[in-house]
């Protein structure tokens, strides 16, 4: 018997890639700017969706309208920004369908992907499959044949609705219901693309599944929807990397990620987010971990103007373990409001949150964490550790830990630190020939190392490079 996340439980959960091929990107299809029920229905109809999905979208749209901007737990004060929902394209399509074969992918899209290094990654066969999100829809998907033989499904979510309707319908919207928050409702209404991963019982996917996302059109919202189901005793590592060219007007990225980790299964979800600094990145990521299951979020936030993201794990079965490794870096004008939520529902569950943030110039980072232990979640153990590093005098970092414990037999540890790059450390490194900038970079790289070392090799290298670019002020 698998426990469900009831509305009650859910409620308590209070590189600069400067190129863009916009000129050549002739969208085959695009809705008009702005949002209405007609636009929502149009998206569903263009995709040829079944009625239940159309209904789901329309209902979500109305919920979005009724819902106020998030306050309370959400921290980024989104209402203070000029975010005009009517100034956004909610759907665009660059090519007709998800391509199965690299040779079918349009030439200009290939160029862009070449710059992102995807074909190289493929060649090296470091990856099990690549899903690339070009604007709203996934245009290229490949998966290794042996995984297919094992019954692993890795497709874009639109294809999944068409080809695996029973599985999708069973789980879609169960972990993050449209009524969860305004942005979840928005995503539920206009979602497009994202990945669908299904791992059958006992199957261990030994290399990471990867997807690349970009926002490539001015005022193009990106509302991908990812659903991962790990059956009993299975394992999968999903990696999502985001890069976006810079644009002058506001872009909105509002994704929903739902993960179901069944008994004894383990899922790791890694994100490196490097949106251009005009993007609002408002993402709802949530997982349910059942008996003996392990869910790990590795979440790196470098880009965007404002990020509000708190990956969460609902520990639904005994001995389930949840982990969030969060890294945030904010440079001038950026606010990273990131953190984690752990909800202990079942007894003997454990969770770890490690958060590291770096603020530079006028950048601001906030750690926002929620820890909830339900009555009956006896012998639960939770550890929270957040460290902030400030580079400049005006840099800012805040910590907002929220704790609600209804069970007496628990073990909770919380540690937090804020430090500034020290003069003595800088002098020490400079006395070894390193310039002040290089010395600072090295200190920052060392600070984030505990998170970086959890990343797949090529991502670790890329992340260090992005951090260095930010430290040089070359990004943003």
């Amino acid at each position: 018997m698998v426990a469900k996340i009831t509305p009650e439980i859910a409620k308590q959960d209070g590189y600069k890639f400067g190129f863009n091929d916009n000129d050549r990107a002739t969208y085959k299809y695009r809705t008009e700017k702005g949002l209405s029920e007609a636009v929502v229905r149009e998206i569903s109809s263009v995709k040829g969706e079944p009625q239940w999905m159309t209904d789901f979208r329309v209902k979500s749209y109305h919920h979005f309208l009724e819902r106020p901007m998030p306050t309370g737990f959400w921290g980024g004060n989104i209402q203070n920004y000029e975010l005009d929902f009517d100034d956004i394209y909610y759907f665009a399509r660059a090519s007709d369908r998800a391509e199965q074969d690299w040779s079918d992918v349009p030439e200009y899209i290939k160029d862009t992907f070449d710059k992102l290094g995807i074909p190289e990654a493929e060649k090296k066969s470091l990856i099990a499959g690549v899903g690339a999100q070009y604007d709203s829809e996934v245009v290229y998907h490949s998966i290794r044949e042996d995984l297919e033989k094992l019954g692993v499904i890795f497709v874009d979510t639109d294809s999944a609705v068409r080809d695996y309707p029973e599985i999708v319908r069973q789980y879609f919207g169960t972990i993050v219901p449209p009524a969860d928050n305004k942005f979840a409702a928005l995503n539920s209404a206009v979602w497009s693309g994202g990945s669908f991963v299904y791992v059958p019982a006992g199957v261990k996917v030994d290399i990471p599944l990867q997807a690349y996302f970009r926002i490539n059109k001015e005022n193009m919202g990106q509302f991908e929807r990812t659903l991962i189901i790990a059956e009993e005793g299975s394992y999968v590592h999903y990696v999502e990397g985001c890069t976006a060219p810079s644009y002058s007007s506001n872009a909105l990225h509002s994704a929903v990620v739902e993960i179901i980790v069944k008994k004894g299964a383990r899922v790791r979800y890694t994100t490196i987010q490097n949106w251009s600094t005009n993007v609002f990145n408002l993402v709802t990521k949530r997982a349910a971990a059942y008996e003996d299951a392990v869910m790990e979020w590795v979440d790196g936030n470098l880009g965007s103007r404002l990020t509000m993201k708190y990956p969460s794990v609902f520990l639904m079965g005994p001995h389930a373990h949840g982990e969030v490794l969060s890294l945030a870096m904010a440079s001038d004008g950026q606010h990273q409001d990131a953190g984690a939520k752990m909800v202990h529902v079942a007894p003997d569950t454990t969770s770890t949150i490690i958060s590291k943030s770096v603020s530079r110039g006028s950048g601001r980072t906030s750690y926002r964490g929620a820890l909830k232990v339900h009555a009956g979640a006896a012998r639960s153990k939770a550890t929270v550790r957040c460290d902030a590093l400030l580079i400049d005098q005006q840099s800012r970092s805040d910590t907002y830990p929220l704790m609600e414990v209804e069970e007496e037999q628990v073990n909770i540890g919380h540690e937090a630190s804020v430090s500034r790059v020290g003069e003595e450390q800088l002098f020490y490194l400079q006395s070894r020939g390193l310039s002040e900038v290089d010395a600072t970079k090295l200190i920052v790289n060392g600070f984030v190392e505990p998170i970086v070392k959890e990343l797949p090799m090529e991502y670790a290298v890329e992340l260090n490079r992005l951090i260095e670019l930010q430290m040089e002020g070359a990004v943003g």
Partner: protein, 260 residues
């Protein structure tokens, strides 16, 4: 001195508005070893830090010439690139940065060009072997969790990798056990070349038994009050600082206007 490496004249240094060095003169040539001794708080580390360019140590007067160039306007990294090295009395730890990564970057920075991986590795492991350091140290984070003695060894490892022209060692012997002292001293001797000048800051004769100085200087209240040969250190070991200080007391009174 024919081949003077470092020439300090009338150096005065303040920390937080308080004058610590009151006019230091010192000349160090290539191939020479100078020992600087003196009671706690006399200004030895201040001299070392000021020479390396620590931002908190303000040079208020005097000159420092290194290889013929006035280095006082240079940032610490530029001084290191010119061939100056300081082995710290209290080395800093840099969490998350491995020794191997740090040393590679430092070597590249000091040389001003990329160092082939192979050459770097050979030099690293040869120097570690010389200092009897386990190769595992290369993977550890810089000074993080190192024992006092391990930190001092790691400083000399850095000196070996960076191959300076002038090495200032600030109490490298403190914190070392008897065997480690010998290992490190022998390491320093092995790294010593005719081009290298050495300034050893120490409290104890035992280091000087291994690394033999030609010159010994006594720093007291921010001044070098006595200079001599190796016998001066032996005399200090036997008699302490009092006889030397007494001898200079009248001069100090005249200079500072108060009784030493």
């Amino acid at each position: 001195m024919a081949d003077t490496l470092l020439t300090i004249e009338g150096l005065t240094v303040s920390v937080e508005g308080k004058q610590i060095l009151n006019g230091v003169d010192l000349a160090v040539g290539r191939g020479e070893v100078h020992a600087i001794m003196g009671p706690n708080g006399s200004g030895k580390s201040t001299l070392a830090n000021a020479l390396m360019g620590h931002p908190r140590y303000q040079v208020t007067g005097g000159t420092v010439r290194f290889k013929g160039e006035d280095i006082l306007a240079l940032s610490p990294d530029k001084r290191a690139q010119r061939g100056l090295f300081l082995a710290f009395q209290y080395p800093m730890s840099i969490p998350g940065v491995t020794m191997v990564n740090f040393l590679r970057q430092a070597m590249k920075a000091v040389r001003g060009e990329d160092v082939p991986v192979r050459e770097f590795r050979e030099k690293l492991f040869a120097t570690m072997k010389l200092l009897k350091m386990d190769q595992e140290f290369a993977r550890r984070y810089v000074n993080e969790g190192f024992s006092g003695g391990e930190k001092k060894r790691a400083e000399i490892l850095q000196m070996g990798i960076l191959d300076p022209d002038l090495a200032i060692m600030d109490e490298t012997d403190s914190g070392l056990d008897i065997d480690a002292l010998r290992t490190v001293a022998e390491g320093v001797n092995a790294l010593t070349t005719p081009k290298l000048g050495v300034v050893l800051i120490t409290h104890y004769q035992r280091l000087l038994n291994y690394i033999k100085p030609q010159f010994v200087h006594i720093l007291y209240q921010g001044r070098i009050i006595e200079s001599g040969g190796p016998e001066l250190a032996l005399q200090l070991e036997a008699e302490g600082y009092d006889p030397v200080i007494e001898k200079y007391a009248p001069a100090l009174v005249a200079a500072t206007g108060e009784k030493a």
